[in-house]
Symmetry: C2
Subunit: 136 residues, 2 copies
């Protein structure tokens, strides 16, 4: 129910993005063939441009204050199949081919906390140890 | 690669959430059976609690500064099948059964802007006119 004007088709993709006050926007990351939603990360302009240029997912770490390439330490890279911007131009959807696991805990997806009777339940266990991904 | 402590299983779901500076967190919304990613919205504590209590998706509108029930005007409601919290407890995934279309433009999904040669392309047309959804 936003009144924002839709971008003109043919305009530059990066120019159409509505950045937040920190110059970031959230990116939802989905495995392109299974439809499995893997993670949510944040991107700045440089991360969007590097992702489009290289075809490998790049993000911006809000906690570390740096741009990073997914998998640069863990090897769990993401090849980007498709990039989409939403109606309000303030959220991305990345369809990717995930190499290995997306979550730093060693799980395929970051969404492993469920809710039962209002309380946290763990839905699945790691497929690989974080020690293997990041060094023990 | 966050160093945040994972919540203890059995702790209250709402208490585990890591809110941003505005007391909000992003919620990725996915059609539970097709895997279609529909939209990204924001929730405050009341929206999370009402969603869990009623089984209908509630969000917080950052532009209007109010909590709202999805479909309260348009009739395009979302029955929540499952609610998940991610590894860092700062993003939700809602698996929903979408009644009609999720996007205010009349499209099934909000992600209809693609990128081709660095420029915006419109991937699909509305299934229903916004005039029908919100009154002409």
């Amino acid at each position: 129910m936003s009144s924002a004007t839709e971008p003109t088709p043919g305009s530059l993709f990066a120019n159409a993005i509505q950045w937040d006050a920190e110059g970031l926007l959230p990116a939802v990351v989905q495995q392109y063939d299974s439809g499995h939603v893997l993670m949510l990360a944040w991107m700045n302009l440089a991360a969007v441009e590097q992702t489009i240029t290289t075809g490998e997912a790049h993000y911006y770490s809000r906690s570390r204050g740096v741009q990073w390439r997914k998998g640069e330490t863990s090897g769990q890279t993401q090849r980007v199949v498709e990039l989409r911007l939403d109606c309000d131009c303030d959220a991305l959807l990345l369809l990717v081919d995930q190499n290995g696991v997306a979550c730093h805990t060693g799980r395929r997806s970051c969404w492993f906390h469920g809710v039962q009777d209002g309380r946290i339940v763990v839905l699945n266990r790691p497929e690989v140890s974080p020690d293997v991904l990041y060094g023990g």
